[in-house]
Structure formats: C-alpha cells, structure tokens
C-alpha cells in the first residue's frame, strides 16, 4: 500500500522534473519547483511510515514551510531583482517604472 503510493509519487516527481527542465518560461519552472516540493513532503511522510520511523514527519513539516517561503522568495527576486526592498521602496519603484 505504502509502496504503491511511493512508486506513484516517484513517477509523478520524474514527470514534474521533466517540466522543470523543459519549461519554456520561468514561471513553468517555478511552478514545477513548488509542485516538486509538495511531492517531496508527501514522499518524506510516506518513507517515514514505510520504514516505521514517523519522526520523519518533523522533517516533512519543515520542508513544507521552507518550500512555500522559497517559492515566494524566488518570485519576489525575479520581479524586483532584489530581496531586501521594504514595502515603501517597492511602492516608490513602481511609481517610477
């Protein structure tokens, strides 16, 4: 049961990786990376049950947090080419451009 779900996840991850490499635009790649992260969270959880070590779920929880922040950070970086802008600076920059 767990092995079947893990195999399905691995196949899905291979397909998502294909899109991340082939994706014509930046956004395809970001979307694939985000989707890949979600699948990794599930895979870590399933592996924890498969090997009778449910402590792996702590790692999965952490990975879910990092994945979301990472996606938002990548998007912000490619929009402003800078990670350290405050909201006032962003507003003034949008007025100029």
């Amino acid at each position: 049961m767990f092995i079947g779900a893990t195999a399905a996840l691995l196949i899905a991850m291979a397909l998502v990786l294909y899109r991340a490499f082939a994706g014509p635009t930046l956004f395809d790649r970001v979307l694939s990376a985000n989707s890949f992260g979600t699948k990794i969270v599930l895979l870590i959880g399933l592996l924890g049950f498969l090997t009778d070590r449910p402590e792996f779920l702590d790692i999965a929880l952490l990975y879910a947090l990092v994945n979301f922040i990472g996606t938002i950070a990548i998007l912000k970086f490619f929009r402003y080419r800078n990670m350290g802008l405050s909201s006032e600076e962003i507003a003034s920059r949008e007025d100029e451009g």
Binding site: M1, F2, G4, A5, A8, L9, I11, A12, M13, L15, V16, Y18, R19, T25, F27, D28, V30, L31, S32, N34, S35, T38, K39, V41, L42, G45, L46, F49, P54, L57, D58, A60, L61, A64, L65, N67, F68, T71, I72, L75, F78, R79
Partner: protein, 112 residues
C-alpha cells in the same frame, strides 16, 4: 475487524491520492501553455496531497504523529493555493500572455 476497515479506508484514500498526484504531474507535462498547467499543478496537487495525508492519518491512529500530519495538511491546504496564485499573478503582471486568447480580449489593467 476494525483494523481491516481502517486499512481499507486508508488504502482507498492513498490510492485515490496517488492517482490525483499522477494526473496532476501528467497534466503538467502534457497541457499546452503555462496558464493551463497551473490547473494541473495547483488544484489536482492540493487534493492529491490532502488525500494521501488523510490516508496516513488513518494508519497512525490517535497519537502525536496524527497531530503532525494534521499540521502538515493544514499548512499545505493554505499555502499550496496561495503559492499557485502568487505564480499566476507574477506571470500576469510580468506580461505573459495566455495562449488561445486574442489580444483584444485581454484587459490591459495594471493589477490583473
């Protein structure tokens, strides 16, 4: 008897979740342009992930493991659509055009 029932339910949930995840990944590869791929990666993925996590909850029983699973599923339930929306909004603001929609049908407002 109860154990069999629990195993059956969690097996069904895991199988449905796996199928949804597979469909989502397949759609991500096969669909023609970015905005259609969003559907595969966003909607299907969230449902598949939730189903798999609920299936694992049935296996874990009442314990700390279930609490962690609930936390993960709550977090994915809120952040996965948010991330998808952020990607879609960034693509729209940065001027990526949907395929199959003629230019005159796009509203060219700044905050789409």
């Amino acid at each position: 008897m109860i154990e069999l029932l629990v195993n059956l339910i969690s097996g069904c949930l895991l199988a449905t979740g796996s199928i949804f995840v597979l469909i989502g990944a397949f759609g991500l590869v096969r669909l023609p342009d970015f905005y259609t791929r969003l559907h595969a990666a966003g909607i299907t993925d969230t449902l598949g992930a939730e189903l798999i996590l609920i299936g694992l909850m049935f296996q874990a029983g009442f314990s700390l493991v279930t609490v962690k699973l609930i936390l993960i599923s709550l977090f994915i339930f809120f952040t996965s659509p948010t991330a998808t929306h952020a990607v879609a909004n960034a693509a729209r603001v940065m001027g990526l055009k949907p395929m199959l929609v003629p230019d005159k049908d796009l509203d060219n407002t700044e905050e789409a």
